[in-house]
């Protein structure tokens, strides 16, 4: 293949006039699907709004805070997670079958999907780019301690590290350890300190230094 020929074809090897710029391509596709009556723009707007504003990691944070506050709830969350999560009004798409794994002083859990991007949407929302990226998916199973180090967590050698690869339709939520310095906190205060990364297992929740937030 000579240089000129290669240049003529640019990146587009499927011999179509569909733009390779994804923004233009998606715009053209949406127009087509609306014109054909296959897609309703308002439904697309509602889907985007749902996952941009209504469903996200604050849901999971409330689940975790409830588990820290109420030992009976925590038991239900670990033994029947779908029902326990539904008690708080969450559940559904990409979280139909939940598993909750608990961090303890001797066990740390880490969640990955090596094959695609499986993630518990009802409690954590849509996954961050790094979770879906090749670097995370490739190394979380072979070098999980190295991954944790990149996130700033040096895991003690004696701690048992459990990596959960979401290869089926089970979706995993890590129940982090309650941080020191939160004695007597209300559930809403506790939820404020729960991070998305701690519920994936790439971070711990740092001890609280300055007492309860105002």
């Amino acid at each position: 293949m000579n240089h000129t020929h290669e240049k003529d074809h640019d990146h587009d090897h499927d011999h179509t006039v569909v733009p390779s710029d994804p923004a233009l391509r998606v715009k053209a596709l949406e127009s087509l699907l609306v014109a054909k009556g296959l897609v309703d723009r308002a439904a697309v707007d509602a889907l985007v709004d749902t996952y941009q504003h209504k469903i996200g990691p604050r849901n999971g944070a409330r689940v975790v805070a409830r588990a820290w506050s109420d030992p009976a709830y925590k038991q239900r969350l670990l033994s029947d997670p779908d029902a326990a999560i539904a008690e708080l009004g969450y559940g559904g798409l990409q979280g139909e079958h939940m598993v909750v794994v608990e961090n303890t002083p001797t066990i740390h859990n880490l969640v990955v999907c090596t094959l695609c991007s499986c993630y518990p949407w009802p409690v954590l929302g849509l996954p961050p780019v790094w979770y879906k990226s090749a670097p995370y998916r490739s190394r979380a199973v072979i070098d999980p301690r190295g991954i944790l180090r990149e996130f700033g967590l040096e895991l003690e050698e004696t701690i048992e590290l459990r990596v959960w690869d979401s290869t089926a339709e089970l979706r995993y939520l890590v129940l982090p350890e309650r941080p020191a310095g939160t004695d007597g906190w209300q559930e809403a205060q506790l939820a404020e300190c729960v991070t998305r990364d701690a519920m994936i297992g790439v971070a711990r929740i740092a001890p609280i230094q300055h007492g309860a937030p105002a």
Binding site: A42, V48, T114, P128
Partner: protein, 219 residues
């Protein structure tokens, strides 16, 4: 298929790139790509496993260089072509072919909250005998299907222990090809890191992988 999507255990793909205060979407087109893909799924002309398989069929070099939602949109186009929802000419021109059927959208804005809150469970309430019990040693089969599979390469031929039985689920290998749901037990199988990666791995580490009955054999 032994595709580039099966990334577990690979080296050389670079550092994790974390973004502080990351937005849910990084561009307007990502929002639309997400919404269109979910909306088109409600026509039920394909299923989740078929969608995953279509993304796995993207050429390896493109799979790695395209962004996440670009892969979604390319796979969606292929699924719509295969199911004759759109023609190649329509994708090229962005306009319906003369005389083509005009449908009424399946998903309306009013149904979105139901779609999100109901989901589409993959668990099946049918009596199927479990081949393995909790605590049993099993070997992940050394198989190399050319179609869709959720048996990652890094566990094939390796020995693990059944940690729990999740119940009966749709089998992706057949479902992705529209060959039936073939419901069967899914287990969480615990593999010691040293079984997977050798003596250099930490003796305290393990990987739990959710595997279907057909992926396993007794030791």
């Amino acid at each position: 298929m032994n595709g580039v999507h099966d990334l577990g255990g690979m080296h050389g793909l670079g550092p994790i790139q974390e973004e502080n205060n990351e937005p849910v979407f990084h561009a307007k087109w990502e929002e639309r790509a997400f919404g269109i893909t979910r909306a088109m799924g409600t026509w039920q002309l394909w299923n989740l496993d078929a969608s995953r398989f279509q993304r796995e069929l993207i050429a390896p070099v493109d799979y790695l260089r395209w962004s996440y939602y670009e892969r979604w949109i390319r796979a969606l186009e292929e699924l719509m072509l295969k199911t004759h929802l759109v023609s190649r000419a329509e994708l090229d021109t962005g306009r319906p072919d003369a005389g083509s059927t005009i449908h009424a959208p399946k998903l309306t804005a009013e149904n979105v909250s139901v779609l999100a809150s109901k989901g589409s469970p993959a668990k099946r309430d049918v009596p199927v005998t479990a081949s393995f019990g909790v605590g049993q040693s099993v070997r992940a089969r050394n198989i190399n299907p050319v179609g869709h599979t959720r048996l990652p390469r890094y566990v094939r031929g390796k020995v693990g222990t059944i940690d729990r039985d999740h119940g009966v689920f749709v089998f992706p290998d057949t479902n992705a090809l529209f060959l039936g749901e073939k419901p069967q037990h899914v287990y969480s199988v615990r593999f010691a890191a040293r079984e997977l990666w050798g003596a250099a791995a930490s003796p305290h580490d393990s990987v739990y992988v959710d595997l279907w009955d057909d992926y396993l054999e007794p030791v």
